[in-house]
């Protein structure tokens, strides 16, 4: 499955890279791509969507609490 999230208030390019790396490392995620300029994250994953969404939200909140994740 492929899903796109919006990352509002994503202001630092380096953090974008950190989020990408962390999401990439999540179980079930095949590929994660954060576009810093478009403030978007495209994730290719398999498995339960709700579970993956929850874990992605956790990771984002941990790395950059200012960023709001929305679908």
């Amino acid at each position: 499955m492929r899903k796109v999230w919006k990352l509002e208030d994503l202001d630092c390019a380096h953090c974008a890279g950190k989020i990408e790396e962390a999401v990439q490392g999540l179980e079930g995620v095949e590929e994660a791509n954060v576009s810093f300029m478009a403030q978007k994250m495209t994730v290719e994953f398999s498995g339960d969507e709700a579970e993956i969404s929850r874990r992605i939200a956790e990771v984002v909140a941990e790395i950059e609490p200012e960023v709001t994740l929305s679908e």
Binding site: D11, C12, H14, N33, S35
Partner: protein, 621 residues
């Protein structure tokens, strides 16, 4: 709002820092107030750095010690312990100035690209039972009539019923000159109606409209990163740890190994390292440049699906064009009719009837030349034969219309026709009936497109066509193309492109540009597939990596130029930022650069790299 607060914080911290530093020098501090300068500096430090410290603490608890926030905190705490209070506050302050400048520049270019792409229509004036209602474009169905007033955006694709006007298509096609529209003309959504009131019959629902497709393309662009961007991500991953390890070695080794080396000296030098441990300048300027380049391209009606394609375009060595619809107009006017026995009008009529259901430009021009409506003609068993022609039974007689290959397949003897142009043979009842010569006009900017590519250093320009050799070579020599391959079937085009791909240098790329009809496999096979003429064919837009909204081939050269300039900016930034960082590291290690210089260099590099990156948005094709 958020930015204003940030700016206010920076200004107050700057004032506190300045007064803290100047106070002891300007006035003699009274004995009772001896701690005042230090208190001012401490407040400046806390005000500028509280969020950095908070983040560092949070990340440390989660085991992420190699985080730039943590390193900044260590550097400044260390400075404070060495009693360098003003440096501690200064480093935090300038770090914040850098951050502020970054988010300002990023937001600004996000906004200007968003403005470029601001083509989403808000409403449509639906005409129902003689009354106008303002409705969302999504609610209008094909076949319904909408009214577009001067100054309004065309909300849906359609055909003009009444009214004449000038339409500004710049947002969609990049074409600066407004286009005249009259009843019968097609109108594409996203354009702006300039002068008259138009009544328009909607031809497609919003979801299928030009504007919806463009927005979809643009919004999904950028999910694929360029190699350079991946390189930077990797670089960033090892840069910070490497700097930290070096810093640790500098702090510990010399005092232990060299006699007379002072711990405080070397610790200070190590802390200077930490100040420049963030690869921020690079990490931010590279995506910013690509984003600007993609924005600059879209402002000219060139939609690039991702920064990886922008980089690939910059490395183009071979450009392959399809002929019809790309280099030529594909308007196909009937130039000559020949028939040995029948009257020429009858040959024309046979051809027009046989191709009555075909949307191929050749059939269209034959019908146009014939100029009559189908009446009392029984057409059955209609077949379209890809890259060969059409076949149908007309009043019981099998009529085939197509190229020499089709005639050969049907074992019909036909005379060879010399000279340029597309020749369509007509055979009726298994017997040659005549031929129709159709000439295709070369696009006005086709020669300019080829010479433009040569100027940009493209090694080879190649044309592929399903047309005959006479027609193909005439066009190719007129345009100055390096190579031409004629009489090709779609599958052979793929084969040829694969062949050409093998001729590329190590980092060379092959670009294929076509109008998308029959081209989807080649578009997908090329390193960069360019679909011309906008959102014409869904398959082409899907398969293409770059979509050119106008049908001007010169935009291919424009796209490559924009990509080359963007890559130039990216490379300048990489060399500059890494160079300055290394220089500061070296100076810092030998004690020649203070923390002040380190932070100035760091923030300065970011600022210059960002300003350079923002230039990409203004590249002219």
């Amino acid at each position: 709002m958020k930015q204003k607060r940030h700016l206010a914080r920076i200004i107050i911290a700057a004032v506190l820092l300045a007064s803290g530093m100047l106070l002891p020098q300007v006035v003699l501090v009274k004995p009772g107030l001896v701690y005042l300068p230090d208190i001012l500096l401490a407040s400046a430090y806390l005000l500028a750095g509280y969020d950095v410290i908070a983040k560092a603490w949070r990340n440390l608890r989660r085991g992420r010690a190699l985080d730039e926030n943590f390193l900044m905190t260590i550097a400044t705490f260390g400075a404070a312990i060495l009693r360098q209070y003003s440096e501690a506050a200064g480093v935090m302050l300038f770090y914040q100035i850098g951050e502020f400048f970054q988010s300002y520049a990023v937001n600004k270019s996000r906004r200007s690209v968003a403005a470029l792409m601001d083509i989403r229509p808000d409403y449509a004036n639906l005409l129902k039972d003689g009354e106008l209602a303002r409705v969302p474009p999504e609610q209008v169905k094909p076949g319904e009539v909408i009214v577009i007033k001067p100054g309004e955006r065309v909300p849906l694709d359609g055909v003009v019923l009444t009214g004449t006007s000038l339409v500004d298509t710049a947002a969609i096609t990049g074409e600066a000159l407004p286009r005249e529209t009259e009843p019968g003309a097609e109108l594409i959504s996203g354009c702006i109606n300039l002068s008259g009131v138009l009544e328009v019959k909607v031809s497609r629902a919003y979801g299928q409209s030009t504007v919806a497709k463009i927005l979809d393309l643009v919004e999904n662009a950028g999910s694929k990163k360029a190699q350079v961007e991946q390189f930077i991500t990797k670089f960033a991953r090892w840069y910070t740890p490497a700097v930290v390890v070096l810093a640790a070695m500098i702090a510990v080794l010399p005092p232990l190994l060299v006699s007379g080396a002072l711990w405080s000296d070397w610790t200070y030098r190590a802390l200077t390292f930490l100040v420049i441990s963030c690869p921020c300048a690079l990490v931010i300027s590279v995506p910013l440049s690509f984003f600007g380049g993609i924005g600059a391209a879209s402002s000219q009606g060139i939609l690039v699906k991702g920064s990886n394609y922008l980089q690939a375009l910059a490395e183009t060595e071979i450009v392959v064009f399809d002929k019809t619809g790309t280099l030529t107009k594909g308007n196909f006017e009937v130039a000559e009719i020949y028939s040995p026995e029948l009257p020429p009008e009858q040959v024309l009529e046979l051809a027009a009837c046989a191709g009555a259901f075909s949307s191929h430009p050749v059939s269209q021009s034959i019908r146009r030349c014939w100029g009559k409506e189908l009446q009392d003609v029984k057409i059955s068993d209609y077949e379209e034969l890809a890259a060969r022609g059409v076949r149908a039974a007309i009043d019981g007689q099998i009529v085939a219309v197509g190229n020499a290959r089709l005639m050969k397949e049907m074992a019909v003897e036909v005379p060879a026709v010399p000279a340029a142009g597309t020749v369509v043979y007509v055979c009726a009842g298994g017997k040659f009936a005549g031929w129709i010569k159709i000439a295709d006009e070369i696009k006005a900017d086709a020669a300019q497109a080829v010479s433009g590519l040569k100027r940009l250093g493209i090694k080879q320009t190649v044309m592929l066509t399903g047309d005959n050799a006479a027609a193909g070579t005439a066009v190719a020599s007129q345009l100055g193309l390096d190579k031409v391959y004629t009489d090709l079937l779609p599958a052979q085009k793929v084969e040829l492109v694969e062949n050409l791909l093998g001729q590329l240098g190590k980092n060379g790329r092959l670009v294929f540009a076509g109008d998308g009809i029959n081209d989807a496999p080649v578009l997908a096979r090329a390193d960069v597939g360019i679909a011309m003429g906008g959102i014409g064919s869904d398959a082409a837009v899907e398969a293409a990596d770059v979509v050119i909204m106008t049908d001007e081939p010169s935009k291919i050269a424009a796209a490559i130029k924009i990509s080359q300039e963007t890559l130039k900016i990216v490379k300048q930034n990489i060399v500059f930022a890494i160079g300055v960082k290394l220089a500061v590291l070296a100076l810092g290690a030998f004690g020649l650069a203070t923390m002040w210089e380190a932070v100035f260099a760091d923030v300065g590099v970011s600022a210059i790299a960002i300003l350079n990156a923002v230039r990409a948005l203004r590249i002219k094709g």
